[in-house]
Symmetry: C2
């Protein structure tokens, strides 16, 4: 009589879906089984670099809800250390292997399925890439592995490949352990998620803290000895390395989906509708780092794996499975990062994105302060706006500051989300008091400058 | 051939207008004379409590641009210590008194006039109200007077009448000087700019820091001895006081406008159009704490004297005087305040405002944290949303937190400005990283709760 929901992937997306479905449908109506390959459920993957760096406790502190709680309080049958190897859509079964019991295979039938096994770190097929001491950082188990390796091997030299979010966070984490750290980035700047002018600020900050940053340099091979990594070769030289962390981004974990015949789109991520139903497959849902979504400005499908989207998408899937109605409205590319002592934030399109999408645009950058200039703790912050020519519509925004800077991107993200023009933004009624802002908020100053540029 | 612009009032509104007009019209085309009663121009009145409390330097640090700079760099003829006593619209002249030269009266003709003499602290006609040691805090000269009195008289007991923004800030400032401070408030809570449930949090915070807060108590008289204030009588008792600070709000400084025949509206503030032209009077402009504006939610005229509005309105007037086109789009009641160790923020309507305006509404309050719960420095913050029934449109929002809380009101203010519903807000793409927010941002959690309440 009741249905069975099978969730594959026990982190943000999967367990949000399970929880929301459970809130709306009791155990008699909906049995829920969740398979998770690792040891943990519902954890903050974004917290891993801080845990590795010793700034926060872990792994338990990073877990929002553990398997036992799901089982006992929510009647969700979580089975950790179970890896899904196949989804059989014809028989509506998933095939799993019990990793702790010799890989025993089981088939489990489902009426509804949530596919939420996330993404996996990109690891090029370099010679030596499988040596010990080479780590991607995506799961709590990965984080534990890095910590164990540092403790056991006491590495002195660390190389981080890739200077995106994870790369810069992990560089800082390794430095916290006393390692000499080199970051190798193929692009011309670190943090290519922001424009080069903003990325240059990031580079300066990293270098000031003693992290060596090499850009425009491509890794060609890893060197190993006795099965352990000992160095990195690039098109420009060789670096000794006792540990290598990969920050080259992730790819959606969709091999199983592909084999099952589910539709893949941007970057091989799964294609869903706005309710997170896999297109063309009734009763099959997907959410999190393994799905594509729509960018609200370009209307193009994009693959942006972030915990905040995963949680929302999982919730949307769960509400719909539970008989409610919810949609995921797409993304605008908002992201914030702590890079050493800098706060870096972005939303919308970078200049390169705007060009690629065919927008004509102007940019305006202003340097202001987080607090009134005379107030203790006032620190410089740079706000950059990108606005469409003629219409004046905000297309993108970036912030680099010291403190109380990054989250100001939210106001800009909400303005952008609503299609505001920079001229309209000059009149916004924002909060002002000397401890929190200059009387002309940095956002307003930037909007004024952009408005003036549009008029030229 | 050229025109003459006379500006009365040399603070934010007046000097913004003068500066913007100058940017667009050179000295040959537009002569600009600005009269200011006090010693200072373009200063941060909002910084005065922090200066009095010794947290920031002053008075010069609070001055954005001094008279000499205006004269030399901007060809704006600033005449400080000149009090305007009348505006003669028939002859298009202002009458001023030179306070440093025996009050010599002068008449100065104008083609265009900016009326920007702000607001004056409300001082009831209590017996003893004119004793020495009783202060309003509106101008830098007021701030200097308070500082001088503290230094000279070494008061030990301070009474602050009124627990609004200025009251709570001045209570803290007096306490910084080692005074025992009592705050007397007629309403049932301090900070009645937020709802009572949020005001209760403010009260607790003030009391924890040793400030005595008496609510529901009305001052009836001040006591004096030898011309100096020595106590405060209320309908409930008597309090010794060596200094009394009034935080009862301000009234627009519009007696001169009234006598000149300019139209007064909400709270006797001057009525302007969206370009800041005084309605019915060509060439007469007004801006800042002396004008009314329109609340974008209720469409009612309101008098909300705040530096941020004054700056914007002055700029708008100046752009228009300069031959450009700009409008002031009205306000939504955004404000942020530091109250002891709390950050307090609001936008839109309080519950009482919503009721008065005839809205049916729901409220949702959530307690979350400014950072991921496991991240060092995570502190509790409460977010309250008020949303219209049926439509779900956001009507108001309030935040009380410890750090990194107040300015989050901006995102809510921008959502409200754009007429977003709380359901739409649940999908907003906000910045997430553990140092800056939980994975479900407090704003999103509040929006979810409000959405659920609407569905009940």
């Amino acid at each position: 009589m009741g249905e069975r929901l099978v969730v594959i992937g026990g982190d943000a997306a999967g367990m949000s879906a399970a929880s929301q479905a459970r809130r709306r449908r009791g155990p008699d109506d909906l049995e829920i089984i969740a398979f998770e390959r690792g040891h943990f459920t519902s954890y903050s993957a974004c917290g891993i670099p801080y845990w590795v760096g010793g700034l926060v406790d872990g792994p338990d502190a990073l877990v929002a809800r553990d398997p036992q709680t799901f089982r006992e309080k929510h009647a969700i049958d979580v089975r950790t250390r179970h890896e899904v190897t196949a989804v059989d859509l014809d028989r509506r079964e998933v095939v799993t292997r019990d990793l702790d019991n010799g890989g025993t295979e089981t088939r489990t039938g489902f009426d509804q399925l949530v596919y939420a096994i996330g993404a996996v770190p990109i690891k090029p097929a370099w010679p030596g890439a499988d040596a010990q001491g080479v780590f991607g950082v995506q799961t709590l188990d990965d984080g534990q592995a890095v910590r164990d390796y540092i403790e056991k091997e006491k590495p002195r030299k660390g190389v981080v490949v890739g200077a995106g979010y994870i790369g810069v966070e992990m560089a800082e984490a390794l430095q916290n352990h006393g390692l000499e750290v080199i970051v190798l980035e193929r692009a011309d700047q670190p943090m290519s998620t922001v424009d080069p002018d903003m990325g240059a600020l990031v580079r300066t900050s990293m270098e000031k803290l003693g992290i060596v940053v090499h850009t425009g340099e491509t890794v060609t091979a890893l060197r190993e000895a006795d099965g352990k990594v000992v160095g990195v070769d690039t098109d420009n030289g060789h670096y000794r390395a006792d540990i290598v962390v990969l920050g080259l981004g992730v790819r959606p974990n969709t091999q199983i989906a592909k084999e099952a015949g589910l539709p893949l789109g941007a970057g091989n991520a799964i294609v869903t509708d706005q309710r997170m139903r896999v297109v063309g497959h009734e009763g099959i849902w997907a959410a999190g780092d393994c799905v594509q979504t729509i960018h609200r400005l370009t209307h193009e499908p994009v693959h942006i794996p972030l915990g905040t989207h995963a949680n929302k998408q999982g919730r949307v899937a769960g509400v719909n499975i539970g008989g409610g109605y919810a949609t995921f409205p797409g993304v605008i590319g908002t992201a914030v990062t702590k890079v050493c002592d800098l706060e870096v934030a972005r939303t919308g399109l970078r200049e390169a994105d705007a060009e690629k999408a065919g927008f004509a645009y102007i940019t305006a950058s202003v340097e202001s302060t987080n607090r009134a200039g005379y107030f203790p703790g006032a620190k410089p912050m740079v706000v950059k706006l990108i606005a469409e020519r003629v219409s004046g519509r905000l297309l993108g925004a970036q912030i680099v500051g010291r403190t109380e800077a990054a989250k100001r991107i939210d106001g800009l993200a909400i303005a952008l989300w609503n299609g505001m023009t920079v001229e309209e933004m000059t009149g916004l009624d924002l909060g002002y008091a000397p401890p929190y802002a200059p009387v002309w908020d940095p956002i307003l100053i930037a909007a004024r400058k952009a408005t003036e540029k549009l008029a030229q």
